[in-house]
Symmetry: C2
Subunit: 333 residues, 2 copies
DNA sequence: GTGAAAGCGCTAACAG
DNA sequence: CTGTTAGCGCTTTCAC
């Protein structure tokens, strides 16, 4: 705009009768300057309304005080909690928070990382779509922390759906179900693989049959085909990859006049906003996603400060649990 | 990380056998350099994997290619559409997108603006909580565009809830309702004032009585008191400030055993995700919020490029409409 | 059409 | 403890 030329460190220096470097020190290394002059400099800076220029600081010191979070799809309510947690933590730590959409594309993700690399100190990659090898390679050059994805050797924060998955099976088993069908999300998806593994293992332990169908698009629109496929498989319990898909399944079932949970029980994952609003309210696996977002940022900042004295990158694992609502009930005879 | 020293414009210059300034020109002012040398420089840059440093560019030129969006509450699903639209447009325009939460506080908003001012070209202020005077004052120093708020003399993009509000009244009137109660949001809120104004005017035109209660916290939790207050007022139709509040109202009504829409009709605003999932599905005013986000960014970029030859700041107004679902029905006798 | 040189605002040696 | 001196990587006059 009308750029009235901001006051710089030199203005403060001149006004305070010291050198620019002294001003810089007074501001950043308070102990490396005489308390008296320090007071004075600070007062002058205050009076002149001095504000450091983050760009100039970054250019010189390399410390940008900025992080970026890359999300496959900003719109997906699943990410809201994670985004929120990350933004909050970043803000608390005085970091500027950049948010970018990768549109579910690994290429896009990589490009964004390269585009932003000079502007940020590190990245939080939510549900990254990149191949393990690519991710690992990029991690050698950039500061990366993963959320809801684990790659050996890289720091990450995940909500472990293992516990939730086991609880699904226990819940269904106790209701008399003998088999379940997992309506899978994208096969490339890390959580999808993790969920299926846990479900299958738990089912086996409980003497239940578990089958996997799909992949289905993990959105409400995917629910139509998913429901029909599940029904075709003759299952009494449908476990959808996420709540969006589960809600779509619920809709299709209602359309077809299939009573829930009378004839079929339905379970989701994520406990998104809306999961308890639908009819019937959805039984789903809830997890501390906001916590995961916070933890990821935390890992990023810690990593930066500790100058690689880190023994091994940390992998934070948060637990999940089943929230039982109305969409599950006793198995049909 | 292991910072292998990025290739700079000087590396390219040396390798290409030209001066750094020529490289700069070849990259930015293609026409101010000999086509042949240009080709050559570009080829070398490509080969060396040169990437300009946005920070250095910004420090020198003042052009940051970055915008920030300030939102009162990232968590509120109401903003998702707007955020998404803004992020998309920014990304298309090659702009880096900073997102910050202001926690519903005007002070916080102002601080964020000042903190980020050196790092960005401008701000999109969503549902700004600041006073008109403050906003106007800040707008003289910074590039601001408002979303879902209008301030005389400042550029903005809003979803006009006037049309939707009128449609609410027409809809209710045609169902035989003689009176409605508006369960208001924060009185400081610009949309709240706008909605109430339109509702009242339309009600008058249709010979209906309109009353305003509140303010209520515009969240699901606010629905309890709001519902009770509305019921106490003896209304047959409750128009809630937003869908969150409306959903809370629906819940409270269900708790109290009040049939919807049998005894009371309920209407919301925003058509958030989940509005069609609740039981009964919510009748609500929908608007092109994603469009509003896009438009705001558009205004911001245009404003920057056109060097103040702008006659008057633009105020984009987008229209809304009522989506009729199951929460509204004929007035109880 | 191209090169040399001067900074943008700040930090970080290096002397004193 | 503090001042001087170089740059960070880039753009932009100003000469040639």
């Amino acid at each position: 705009m009308s750029s009235p030329r901001r006051t710089t460190i030199y203005d403060v220096a001149r006004e305070a009768g010291v050198a620019a470097s002294t001003v810089s020190r007074a501001l950043n290394n308070p102990r490396r300057v005489n308390p008296a002059t320090r007071e004075h400099v600070l007062a002058v800076a205050e009076r002149l309304g001095y504000r450091p220029d983050p760009l100039a600081t970054a250019l010189q010191s390399g410390h940008k005080a900025t992080i970026a979070m890359l999300v496959p799809d900003i719109t997906n309510p699943h990410f809201f909690g994670t985004i929120r947690g990350a933004e909050k933590r970043a803000s608390e730590a005085g970091l500027t928070f950049i948010l970018a959409n990768t549109e579910e594309s690994a290429d896009n993700e990589r490009n964004q990382i390269e585009r932003l690399s000079r502007s940020v100190d590190g990245f939080v990659l939510a549900a990254s779509r990149m191949q393990e090898a690519t991710t690992r390679e990029l991690a050698r050059e950039y500061n990366l922390v993963l959320v809801n994805r684990q790659v050996e050797g890289l720091p990450s924060a995940v909500v472990d759906n293992g516990a939730g998955s086991r609880q699904i099976v226990e819940h269904l088993a106790s209701l008399g179900h003998r088999s379940l069908v997992y309506l899978s999300g994208p096969h490339r998806s890390w959580p999808a693989a993790q969920r299926w593994r846990a479900l299958r293992a738990a089912a086996e332990a409980h003497g239940m049959t578990a089958r996997r169908l799909g992949p289905f698009p993990p959105r409400v629109e995917g629910g139509g085909v998913a429901a029909d496929a599940g029904l075709g498989a003759g299952a009494t319990a449908l476990v959808a990859h996420n709540d969006l898909l589960a809600i779509g399944v619920l809709r299709r079932l209602a359309e077809r006049g299939v009573p829930v949970p009378g004839q079929v029980s339905v379970v989701g994952y994520d406990d998104i906003f809306g999961a308890d609003l639908c009819a019937p309210a959805l039984t789903t696996v809830a997890g501390p996603h906001e916590e995961a977002g916070r933890a990821a940022v935390e890992l990023l900042t810690r990593k930066g400060s500790l100058s690689r004295s880190q023994p091994a990158p940390q992998q934070v694992v948060l637990s999940s649990h089943l929230v039982i609502r109305r969409s599950t009930g006793p198995a049909a005879r």
